[in-house]
């Protein structure tokens, strides 16, 4: 599904001003937003989710228009059907894992039996069954991440946004979780846009790479299926060049 984003927003705090002027089209289902901190990546995701209102522009997923300032369209986050995995996961600390996962399900009468089954299925799928009655504070980073992912995916969102989903994990865990993310995307066929600082994420997760710089999109690269895995040499080189421009030495956080 195509994701088109073309937005402008000016943020002011005290004497500082930040101008976001972002325009890109993600042709494939796996997009990675890459760039240094403070380049407007998170703000852009918040705009797509409806948590922040752009001053002007247009956002669409496939045929659905989420925001269009010219037409006066601005869907509320509740109406967008866009899943969001926050950097700190934003799990509800007073609810159990099970209640967190079930939070976004329909609570209408008659739906209840159906949702109980769905929650069970998702807990199993994300290997969270033994933790169903635990509270988030007792979970490890990787487990929290799976709860956040299950909670977002159980609603079958049209698009999944992830704000640095791997940055809170230790490096050993990262490659495993990266693989899990990739598998989940294949399984649910949900288009996703992932913010990252880590070139390894780009290689593992991206079909589109959207490079941010100073509130603007510096470059959009489209990698062929499997290319990031080491196939197409020309594309690999292009990607490596772009990444090394951003992180001359010792790329990373």
């Amino acid at each position: 599904m195509k994701i088109r984003v073309d937005i402008r927003k000016t943020l002011r705090s005290h004497d500082r001003e930040f101008r976001l002027d972002v325009s890109f089209t993600a042709e494939h289902d796996r997009s990675v937003v890459f760039g240094p901190s403070g380049s407007g990546k998170s703000l852009t995701l918040q705009c797509i989710a409806g948590l922040l209102k752009p001053d002007e522009g247009r956002i669409e997923i496939g045929e659905r228009v989420l925001f269009d300032s010219a037409a006066g369209i601005n869907l509320r986050p509740q109406e967008r059907n866009v899943g969001f995995v926050f950097q700190d996961y934003a799990l509800f600390p007073h609810l159990t894992v099970e209640q967190n996962v079930a939070f976004g399900l329909n609570r209408e009468v008659g739906e209840r039996n159906h949702s109980v089954g769905r929650v069970k299925e998702f807990l199993a799928l994300f290997e969270l069954e033994p933790l169903a009655r635990s509270h988030p504070r007792s979970l490890s980073g990787g487990q929290r991440q799976r709860v956040a992912l299950a909670r977002a995916l159980i609603r079958h969102p049209d698009l999944l946004l992830m704000d640095e989903p791997l940055s809170a994990l230790d490096p050993l865990l990262r490659s495993r979780v990266r693989r899990e993310l990739s598998d989940m995307q294949t399984r649910f066929r949900v288009p996703m846009v992932v913010i990252t600082h880590d070139p390894a994420d780009v290689e593992a997760l991206a079909q589109n790479v959207i490079v941010f710089e100073h509130g603007r999109v510096a470059q959009v690269m489209s990698l062929k299926e499997g290319a990031a895995g080491g196939g197409d040499t020309a594309q690999r080189e292009m990607l490596d060049r772009a990444l090394s421009d951003l992180y001359p030495v010792g790329a990373g956080g």
């Binding site: 989710a49 948590l51 986050p77 509740q78 926050f86 934003a90 509800f92 600390p93 609603r155």
Partner: protein, 220 residues
């Protein structure tokens, strides 16, 4: 002596209870409003809401007389429909509520502000209505802070003296609360009664402070 203490004690609990309820509803509302919405004049409104904490209770009592007295702005209108608040226990409730209000307000504002807005945003992306977010996310995470402020407010309302005296007077059996009864007992030289009343007041207040101290500790 016990008999002499029971009447003012019962009245005190009644007045403080209703005053706390009133302070909880209004203080909670204003605390939420100021924590979650920014608007022009917010700082001024915050200052006004905090004012009863620092102003002499007699000044507050005077304000209340000006507003709800028989010739007051609202009191005149209330008098016409047959409601008089001056020299009634309901007047004492109002006076105590005004004095206790900032404690609920401050506690509620801090409690609502301490709820991570990411959690509310996460609930929005999960399709929850604003009302459901308030009752399922915001309030469950803020209630301990609100309750702690409310208990302080109750303790404050129990000890209210100045504003209550101005608005409701000191009528035994009608508007004479514990603190007023202590004053009367000391004036009349009834030291035993004064000691007893002081002891009761102190015990109740210590219990409340211990309980609210426990609630102030974060749960998560």
């Amino acid at each position: 002596m016990l008999g002499q203490a029971v009447v003012p004690l019962a009245l005190t609990l009644k007045v403080a209870g209703f005053a706390t309820l009133l302070a909880l509803l209004t203080g909670g509302l204003f605390g939420f409003l100021l924590a979650r919405h920014s608007f022009w004049g917010r700082d001024v409104l915050d200052a006004i809401c905090t004012l009863p904490m620092v102003m002499p209770p007699t000044v507050l009592g005077y304000y209340l007389i000006v507003i709800i007295g028989r010739r007051g702005w609202i009191g005149g209108w209330l008098h016409e429909i047959g409601i008089d608040l001056i020299f009634t226990w309901q007047g004492a409730v109002l006076a105590s509520a005004v004095v206790a209000f900032p404690l609920v307000f401050k506690g509620a504002r801090a409690a609502f502000e301490s709820v991570d807005s990411h959690l509310e945003n996460a609930a929005r992306t999960l399709g929850s209505s604003e009302l459901r977010i308030f009752f399922r996310v915001t309030l469950p995470l803020a209630w301990r802070g609100i309750l702690a402020g409310t208990m302080l407010a109750f303790a404050r309302a129990m000890g209210e003296f100045g504003a209550t005296l101005m608005v409701a007077g000191n009528i035994p059996g009608k508007t004479q609360t514990l603190s007023l009864a202590v004053y009367d007992a000391v004036q009349a030289g009834q030291d035993d009664l004064a000691n007893f009343l002081v002891l009761i007041t102190s015990i109740v207040c210590v219990l409340i402070l211990v309980a609210s101290g426990k609630l102030f500790r974060p749960a998560y």
